[in-house]
Symmetry: C3
Subunit: 137 residues, 3 copies
């Protein structure tokens, strides 16, 4: 197996989705592969990954509100030393993804027509987030 690995740094600006599909495809391009596996791994526990719809931005707004209601700041969390938004961010990360594996076919991420890869920031403040992208062929 040949393995090509890069760290991709993503700057977030508060809660919400950052489409990282192009950055991940660029790593695949630099790996210069035909058929392969691409693994995206987020090195954080208060931000997560999601492959979701790339068409209507309302889908992402709905997802954000829904998950915030499932894991609200208002809950009496024991862990609150890092602010009221920290523990709900861990909970929201726990039910979404830390790693995602996407097949590469003919040099392209084999996403469905309506799929994009998102980094989902759960904290109130923007953060520098690190993804490790591995392409194995």
């Amino acid at each position: 197996m040949a393995i090509h690995q890069e760290v991709v740094e993503v700057r977030t600006t508060g809660p919400g989705f950052v489409d990282v599909t192009r950055k991940v495809q660029a790593v695949v391009d630099r790996a210069n592969v035909k058929n392969a596996l691409c693994v995206v791994f987020v090195q954080h526990t208060s931000a997560s990954l999601l492959v979701q719809e790339n068409a209507d931005p309302a889908v992402l707004r709905d997802l954000g509100k829904w998950l915030s209601d499932l894991a609200p700041e208002a809950r009496p969390w024991e862990h609150d030393a890092e602010g009221p938004d920290d523990m709900p961010s861990h909970a929201r990360s726990a039910v979404t993804r830390t790693s995602e594996t996407i097949p590469v076919v003919d040099g392209r991420l084999a996403l469905g027509t309506w799929q994009a890869i998102y980094l989902w920031e759960h904290r109130r403040q923007g953060h520098g987030r690190r993804l490790v992208v591995s392409v194995a062929s």
Copy 2:
């Protein structure tokens, strides 16, 4: 690495689980491998994957009802242009799986005794769903 990839098409008939274990094992068989990794990826955002119990069908019914209660149609979703069942389907997909990686040992998916691989249709209508199955050895 040798990589063997196939698209597996699955016809669903409305909400619920379709056991795709045999179809995935058939791809592994055609890859003719001993020890490997098998990655299943679903190219949709309103259907998802789950490895779950294969014994009592009541487990799957309970999961379906529970997740429907967590992400109900009755919620005032902003995204409703594709019908009242579309946005809850995205939400239910968001907290289950888009990709799953199963080890292959001696040519067999190394699932536990009670595990099967399911495609989980979240839409009311049946759909043709596409899985990309990759076997890397």
Copy 3:
């Protein structure tokens, strides 16, 4: 591709998290790889995996209580033949992870500073749980 696979057995003592990071790193060490992918797969449907914060144990307590509230024993589950804690355990597993893929860089799991790999036992009783750890390089 070279693939190194081991079954790691973990004894749990009831609901909660068991940090398996060292055991997984030990498999990576025995695989004697530089850059690779490490796939952890749990062969059960009432216990699951999670990469989460390794610093404040209150984070894990909060996650446990939160997920128990989302999928409570008190719900009228149809599947109850294996005890009142079995079906909520399937539900809690369904929204966390069955497999997780962690990159290996220079022989080390490329986890973030605050990340550990946990096996999450959801049943009331302790169980012997099996992880299949694969290192592909």
